[in-house]
Amino acid sequence: MKIKLTFAAALLAATVMSGVANAKTFVYCSEGSPEGFDPGLYTAGTTFDAAAHTVYNRLLEFEPGTTNPVAGLAESWTISDDGLEYTFKIRPGVKFQTTEFFTPTRELNADDVIFSFERQLKKDNPWNQYVAGASWEYFNGMGMPELIKSIEKVDDLTVKISLNKPEAPFLANLAMPFISIMSKEYADKLDADGKKEQLNQMPLGTGPYQFVGYQQDAVIRYKANADYWGGKQKIDDLVFAITTDAAVRYQKLKAGECHLMPYPNSADVEAMKADPNLKVMEQEGLNVAYLAYNTTQAPFDKVEVRKALNMAINKQAIVDAVFQGAATPAKNPIPPTMWSYDNAVQDDAYDPEAAKKMLEDAGVKDLSMKVWAMPVSRPYMLNARRAAELIQSDFEKIGVKVEVVSYEWAEYLERSKAKDRDGAVILGWTGDNGDPDNFLHTLLGCDAVGGNNRAQWCNEEFNKLVLDAKATSDQAERTKLYEQAQVVFKREAPWATLDHSLSVVPMRKEVQGFVQSPLGDFAFEGVDLAE
């Protein structure tokens, strides 16, 4: 029996190992099922990995390993001097995938681009409600309907988008998965056949891999797109083996049943690093966790009080206890992998004695406050309750009494927005488009008070800097403005910045060419397996 079972196991190992000899198969143990295959409809990274980064391309793409938007399906673009008109030249000769379910008759043109935008933009577009309850969450969430005035075809390979106001992060938005470019010809065919919903089930685009099949909650299969404009991939078949449990993913990786896995348990990382068959990549994720004081309420309206509290927090202890080291203490509100990160900024040093004195000098005695702990685990904060307890004991050392409170998640998000909210809130953010505006303006701008700006902090100097940066399209100029904004932020201390969690990617030794994305995407363009 043992021999038979061993034989079966050997046969299985052949799946990944020797079976690859004639056709190279790359198996990715993904963490969950995609919600669907139309990236416009969804917001989850799992869905974007399965649909957007495999099958589709966008006008712009993020340069691998960075958050810089570079040419994608648009080979070049010009921006009018007033920053209101963007004209895109579409890359000529780009072919849509030829699959078992559709054979395209024409190449990519302006109609496809306009279709991809208008289905999300215009409520009366026949594709706006092609699935019940389509809310185009990201398109709306990034403010595209208010921003885009019109989109028009100049010629077959030129598209002009007019904006209502200058908005520099617009280019980065165009590299985001939700605005993937679809084939209008395929959509028209589905419409004519009365099978519109198939657009969300059998995707067809211009990307490096084409869709082969999806077995619900189990396996997604792709093969290399032979006509890919960026060159055919070295991998012949790409398989997503859906494996929800991190410990099981690790076992599969060890057994050679998959080549790469996302989101390992932090407790397993050391063993992974020691395994001679595996290698581990690490990078700061595009996220931040923070403790937001309510800067409109006494005594937190005083900068000295906020500074004193910040100096009392032992961030390293939080990183060690909550992440087992898989995070770094944060000093800026944006992560180090983001352009314009100001490394020259000095963090408030951990110094309980000085903090205590500072608090006394500010005339604050017998302070008692609430610290809000999120009820859920998020990538930027795995265990907010634990972090809150550590902060509680840190604050006690300087004579501040802390009550840790928590609410159900939706309730937490809602209540923490209130302008007269009591206490300091632990929360965080994961970047959408890699643009500093997505952190600095979204989370700390004056117009976000009562919303995303949980510190209720409206500082004119800071606000002007981020608004100016938003209206400028010159990246060097913007960098300067954001660096100044980070200095103001540190001086005014509306938050205690807690951590940036590390994104850890374990893979088999034979995996080559995988580039870790600061945005947390898992994209397999350019990946290969050593013989």
Partner: protein, 334 residues
């Protein structure tokens, strides 16, 4: 028999409506607004919130929402997933065969091992064998499935490499589902080795899922056997000089099986509950894993529809067991 059947059905309908009310109100009474959760940390404007609530029908009075929902359910429309936007009933029946296949294998293992173990424990009452079996059953019954599953994976798939880690079949086999049952589909596919691969993938999850029912069945069989072995007719049979195997195998076992069959019927609910964890651990694409995923995604429509469908199926199975029981034991029908 018809009266018996009608009587059972009359109980079933209010139970089903009761479950539908619980499933419906349960997720609405819980704190937390499903629409706000769609946005997560991103703040949603009040207008947008109202718009989405309207699209999803959450802005209508609760009784109207419920009646509307019940009307849909009665016509076979269990709603549409908030997340995937697909009809819940389609997803359910696409995944259900995987759960049935796993559960059937688990119950077969539980019966084949549990009943003999219980019988031997009863015969050798008080012996070391009896105590070991009952001790093992207690451990099996109390063991957290999550931990047990992982332990088996690490041992058999990780260290010994006798079985695959997870999934339903090796990724090298790729064929469209015909029946949804992998054992059957792999045979129909005609691909060499596919059936073997499907079997090897089924071993660990079905052992894990069978653990609790096995323990329950073994204990139930033992106590039922002990009770029967003390009966007068068994003593008479022995006194008549019948061989011990005949006494136990024919006279005692037949009567001891009545409560055991009831127990097996009741294990259907236990299997469904166990499948939720087992499927999650073994990446088994069945309805248990689907429900867990939906909880994490806060897909209220799926949780509600899935609960109702699972409850409906458990009720139907129990009805079947009741009918079977009525056939075996005519007194029940009276």
């Amino acid at each position: 028999m018809l009266r018996f059947l009608l009587g059972r059905l009359a109980v079933l309908i209010p139970t089903f409506i009761g479950v539908s009310i619980i499933a419906f109100s349960f997720i609405r009474l819980l704190p937390g607004d499903p629409v706000a959760l769609l946005a997560g940390e991103r703040v949603m404007s009040p207008e947008r919130h109202a718009e989405i609530s309207h699209t999803l029908g959450f802005d209508r009075p609760l009784p109207i929402q419920y009646l509307d929902y019940l009307g849909g359910v009665l016509t076979g429309d269990f709603g549409t997933s908030i997340v995937t936007k697909k009809p819940i009933i389609d997803q359910f029946f696409a995944l259900f065969p995987a759960t049935v296949e796993l559960s059937l294998c688990a119950i077969i293992i539980a019966v084949l091992v549990g009943i003999p173990a219980g019988i031997f424990a009863a015969i050798k009452r008080g012996s070391f064998f009896d105590q070991s079996i009952m001790g093992a059953a207690l451990v099996g019954y109390s063991m957290p499935i999550f931990w047990w599953g992982l332990l088996l994976i690490i041992l058999f798939a990780g260290i010994l490499q006798w079985t695959p880690v997870s999934g339903r079949i090796s990724l090298m086999y790729f064929f469209p589902p015909v029946t949804g049952f992998m054992l059957i589909d792999s045979l129909l596919s005609g691909q060499a080795g596919a059936f073997k691969s499907a079997v090897s993938h089924l071993i660990l999850p079905s052992v894990v899922l069978s653990t609790i029912p096995l323990a329950v069945i073994a204990r139930q069989t033992r106590s039922a056997m002990l009770e029967v072995l003390g009966e007068d007719y068994v003593r008479t049979a022995r006194a008549k000089g019948l061989s011990p195997w005949r006494v136990i195998g024919i006279h005692a076992l037949r009567n001891a099986m009545i409560p055991v069959i009831t127990t097996i019927g009741l294990q259907v609910g236990v299997l469904m509950a166990g499948a939720i964890l087992t499927e999650t651990i073994f990446s088994w694409p069945g309805i248990g894993k689907w429900m867990v995923d939906s909880v994490f995604r806060r897909d209220y429509a799926v949780i509600q529809g899935g609960l109702l469908l699972i409850a409906g199926i458990i009720m139907l199975v129990n009805l079947g067991v009741d009918l079977l029981y009525g056939l075996i034991n005519p007194r029940i029908r009276l």
